[in-house]
């Protein structure tokens, strides 16, 4: 039976939820918290978003989603346009090519894999910025950003898992 227009519309909106949620998280991360130090280490929220969905539901966050999320991050954070997009899409590519490794793995394994993927992503982004602008980021600042990114993953993954559950339940 062909789905009705309403059902198609609901389905499309449902498929957009992970991307929209990721955009909201990137925007929340730059909201002024009036608390010194909080989030100022620059965690890679976009990376966490694309990583989670690439591991669990790659069909809900394609390369276009990663590209657009990267553009948004670059515009907000004043990094050269295109750098974060490239890093996010390569992250998606790496996870998708190793998809068999991730399927059905417990959370701790995916967290450990994130530690490796995020390390590569952090270094690649720093390298791209250095090549394009000549600015070499201090290793301490990079380590802080990397560490905060890893620490935030369990919280974000929990929220995404709830969303994922609701999306699956509704469909």
């Amino acid at each position: 039976m062909r789905p009705t227009l309403w059902q198609s519309l609901v389905q499309t909106v449902r498929r957009l939820v992970p991307f929209v949620l990721s955009v909201v998280l990137v925007l929340v991360a730059v909201a002024p918290m009036t608390t010194p130090g909080f989030l100022r280490a620059g965690p890679m929220i976009g990376l966490l978003c694309v990583y989670y969905w690439a591991v669990h539901r790659p069909d809900l966050m394609g390369y276009l989603g990663g590209f657009l999320l990267g553009i948004l991050t670059d515009i907000l954070m004043s990094t050269p346009l295109g750098v974060t997009s490239l890093v996010l899409m390569l992250t998606q590519y790496v996870v998708l090519t190793q998809y068999r490794f991730f399927v059905g793995k417990p959370f701790l394994i995916t967290w450990w894999a994130l530690a490796l993927v995020a390390l590569g992503a952090t270094l690649l982004k720093a390298l791209a910025v250095a090549v394009l602008t000549g600015y070499v980021v201090a290793p301490g600042a990079l380590a802080a950003s990397y560490g905060l990114t890893l620490l935030l993953y369990p919280i974000l993954a929990w929220g995404f898992a709830r969303t994922h559950f609701l999306l699956t339940k509704e469909s």
Binding site: L27, V28, V30, A31, P32, M33, T34, T35, P36, G37, F38, R40, A41, G42, G62, Y63, L64, G66, F67, G70, I71, L72, I75, L76, M77, S78, T79, P80, L81, G82, V83, S85, L86, M89, L90, Y93, A126, A128, V129, L132, T133, G134, Y135, V137, A138, A141, L142, A144, S145
Partner: protein
């Protein structure tokens, strides 16, 4: 068998399209990087347009975030309320003494100005804007504020908070602007030591404490010395409080800013009619590359 064959053909096509999309988007990302090097004006315009469109959303989001921050601050302050009260009483006693001195000096200053027939400096016009995003990170330090060209904001204008200098506007859209913070790697501000009158350039390092550079005489500088803008080169008006010397080691003089970048809520954009003599490089890490 035929449906299976069709399905596998469909699957293969899907994989091929997926790969093509990846290739095209990676090429687009490289294209944007090159465009960013070649046409900074266009990239700046795209950035301003996107931020303008996002400003209403950022404004809505900044309110609950500010409330959460306020609650956290309240909890922290409640924990140390007794010590804070004692410190404030002590500070209040000191400030009352200073108030008396300031009033006497104000009267004396007024009389001397009248005697010297000093032409009064024009008071700057100002716009008050709300901070809607703190985009401080590893690669750049900037704020997004809710004032743009329609409110009279212009590129190069000086931004201050109650405590002191915040930075200056580097990207101005219709309803929003980007403030390049003093801690950003591209920030350069001519400053002067309030006591010794030694001139220097305050350079951002993407760290919380910017550094003093190009200083002729580094001797006699000690932690606690106050720093204000010098007005040299016409980029910033003189005598805006900036910070105090935090540490002096091995020729590196680090400055503790008077403002707390992470706590800014409202800022004032001042219009002194100063455009600056150096063309603006744009915020963030863009200087090296653009």
């Amino acid at each position: 068998m035929q449906p299976n064959g069709q399905m596998s053909r469909f699957g293969a096509m899907k994989v091929a399209l997926h790969r093509l999309a990846f290739g095209v988007l990676v090429a687009a990302a490289f294209g944007l990087m090159l465009l960013g090097k070649a046409d900074t004006v266009l990239i700046s315009r795209i950035s301003s347009t996107v931020i303008d469109a996002l400003t209403p959303v950022l404004e809505i989001m900044s309110k609950p975030a500010a409330s959460v921050g306020a609650v956290m601050n309240n909890i922290r302050e409640l924990a140390a309320i007794r010590e804070e009260n004692a410190r404030l009483r002590e500070e209040n006693r000191g400030l009352l003494r200073w108030q008396t001195v300031a009033r006497e000096l104000q009267v004396e200053n007024q009389r001397l100005r009248e005697l010297a027939n000093l032409v009064p400096e024009p008071a700057p016009n100002h716009i008050t804007a709300r901070v809607v995003a703190d985009t401080g990170g590893v690669f750049a330090r900037s704020l997004l504020v809710t004032a743009g060209t329609r409110d009279g904001a212009r590129k190069g204008q000086v931004v201050v908070a109650a405590e002191g200098l915040v930075g200056r506007l580097t990207e101005v859209g219709g309803r929003s602007s980007r403030v390049l913070l003093l801690t950003d790697i591209n920030s350069r501000v001519p400053v002067i030591m309030e006591e010794s009158r030694a001139r220097a350039i305050l350079m951002g390092t993407n760290d919380n404490r910017p550094e003093l550079a190009f200083m002729k005489a580094k001797t006699g500088i000690s932690p606690g010395d106050r720093i204000v803008t010098s007005g040299t080169a016409g980029a910033f008006p003189p005598d805006i409080p900036v910070g105090v010397v935090a540490s002096v080691d091995d020729g590196h003089i680090r400055v503790e800013l008077l403002i707390e970048e992470g706590r800014l809520d409202l800022v004032r954009i001042l219009d002194y009619g100063i455009e600056g003599i150096v063309p603006d490089p744009g915020p963030g890490v863009a200087l090296g590359g653009r």
